[in-house]
């Protein structure tokens, strides 16, 4: 069943077209990855899906509802959110307050505590630092906090933006192992990563973006890494068309 369906969307920054007729599809229970170099338009696309960037054309459908023009806060309440890269933590708030913000829409404080407990089990490091300000965290810890906060909203579909940007390989490995646990809980994932082989290894389906377009897509297991790399950098791409 298709959970998220993005159809022919276009996003502009002023006169500059950042996203050109992009369509992607995420099925329930899958892990889908979106691969692309810096400036390919991945984050712009994610922000458009979440209602942060305005789309000029096309549609976004989530669980059968048209959310193209919806406010971000409403989209989150439907069960779709993104974990922005770690620099978007609430710097002047404690780790615990950061996480509790994730449960903002949950009105029961007992339930908020219970969700907090689940996140602490997933990322024990966050429990240790619960009372510290987010501004003192390292890059990897921030990434975990960002994912933890997004999970606190209890999303049906979670988008992880730039999941490994600037992180040490050990940390990336740890984050991906938590990602597996998250999928086991029934959360569908759309993961953005710049590392081609890692993305293909961890996902079921993959899209490659270049200059605001989807230039390649397919089952991750069927994809040839060299071809993906070529598409990623735009090498010989015109020849294939």
């Amino acid at each position: 069943m298709s959970m998220l369906e993005v159809k022919d969307i276009e996003v502009y920054y002023g006169d500059f077209q950042a996203i050109n007729k992009v369509s992607i599809n995420v099925d329930k229970g899958d892990v889908v990855s979106l691969i692309g170099a810096n400036g390919a338009g991945k984050s712009t696309l994610i922000n458009a899906i979440c209602g942060i960037n305005k789309t000029r054309a096309g549609s976004v459908t989530f669980l059968g509802k048209d959310i193209t023009k919806e406010k971000t806060s409403h989209i989150v309440s439907l069960g779709l959110t993104s974990a922005p890269e770690g620099s978007h933590c609430f710097e002047k708030m404690t780790i615990q307050d950061n996480l509790l913000m994730g449960a903002y829409l949950c009105k029961s404080s007992a339930e908020r505590k219970q969700r907090l407990e689940e996140i602490y089990e997933l990322f024990p490091m966050l429990r240790e630092k619960a009372k510290q300000l987010a501004t003192f965290l390292s890059g990897g810890q921030r990434q975990m906090l960002s994912i933890g906060r997004a999970l606190m909203t209890q999303p049906k579909l979670l988008i992880c933006d730039e999941i490994s940007l600037g992180l040490a390989p050990v940390v990336i490995k740890e984050i991906y192992s938590q990602i597996e646990k998250i999928t086991q809980k029934g959360v569908t994932l759309l993961i953005i990563d710049q590392d081609v082989s890692r993305s293909l290894f961890h996902s079921k389906y993959a899209y490659v973006m270049l200059e605001g377009k989807i230039v390649m897509e397919g089952k991750s297991s069927d994809m040839n890494i060299d071809e993906v790399n070529d598409a990623y950098f735009g090498i010989n791409f015109s020849k294939k068309e």
């Binding site: 979440c50 942060i52 406010k71 971000t72 806060s73 409403h74 989150v76 309440s77 959110t81 993104s82 922005p84 978007h88 933590c89 609430f90 710097e91 002047k92 708030m93 307050d97 509790l100 913000m101 994730g102 903002y104 829409l105 009105k107 404080s109 300000l133 501004t135 906060r149 997004a150 606190m152 909203t153």
Partner: protein, 287 residues
Amino acid sequence: MLQYLVQGILLGGLYAIIGIGMSLVFGIMRLTNLAHGDLMILSSYTALTFCELLGGNLILAAILTIITMIIVGFFIQGFLLNNILDKGSEPALLVTFGVSVFLANLLHKIFSADYRGLANSLSNTKVISTPAVSISAMYLFSFLVAILLITGLHLVMQYTNFGRSIRATSDNAMAASLTGVNTKKTYIYAMMLSMGVTAVSGVLIGCTYTFNASVGSSYLIIAFGVVVIGGMGSLVGTLVGGIVLGVAQLLGSYFFGSGVQMLVAYVVLLIVLATRPNGLFARGARK
């Protein structure tokens, strides 16, 4: 000297209340509300009008003023500022300047340029009356209200879901929206809160000093001083900022004469700005 010191500290409480409203708005929207002083004087006049209509019941008039100003806050944010904040905070700054000019002239038109005051029993009562120190009950009352407001707001900000959402929006509006916060609504709530506190300050100022339509801008500068000294967006800092400014003003008056008291206060402000540009209580390092 002791008299000036004590009175300066108590005056600081009043200044802190003036500063809180401005600090809230700045902390959350990064917007300097240039109409803050005029909105405060608007509250003074609103209280005066209610008081006259109610036959001198100041407490009821104050409550009605707070409610009125909260509604005013809803309209200012919902219909004027929210639409324009998308384009950055500079255009919104100009809008608040426009509101300031509009209000000052409107109040002039309605109430003329005569100085008015809110009659009350506290300002003529002395709580302490010795040869060395004499404290007016009004000053003490303002100071206590300031402590109460700051403590109350601090608790709300730290420990409630609503307070957290305000802090989160002020920290990173995009990330806040991804947790389900409707940031536009949060801005409206923040402005309503700010206007409610501003109404309190307007009533207290009206009880302590006389006012007319054109004094708003001088209170804007005081609010600015309080917030800059204390650190923008910090509640405890607001109280400290108010006290620093109040004490500087009154000690200035003691040493150099009342003619230059505000000059001394502003020199202190400049010294703080030069040495601690983020204010004495700026929280967390900004990147």
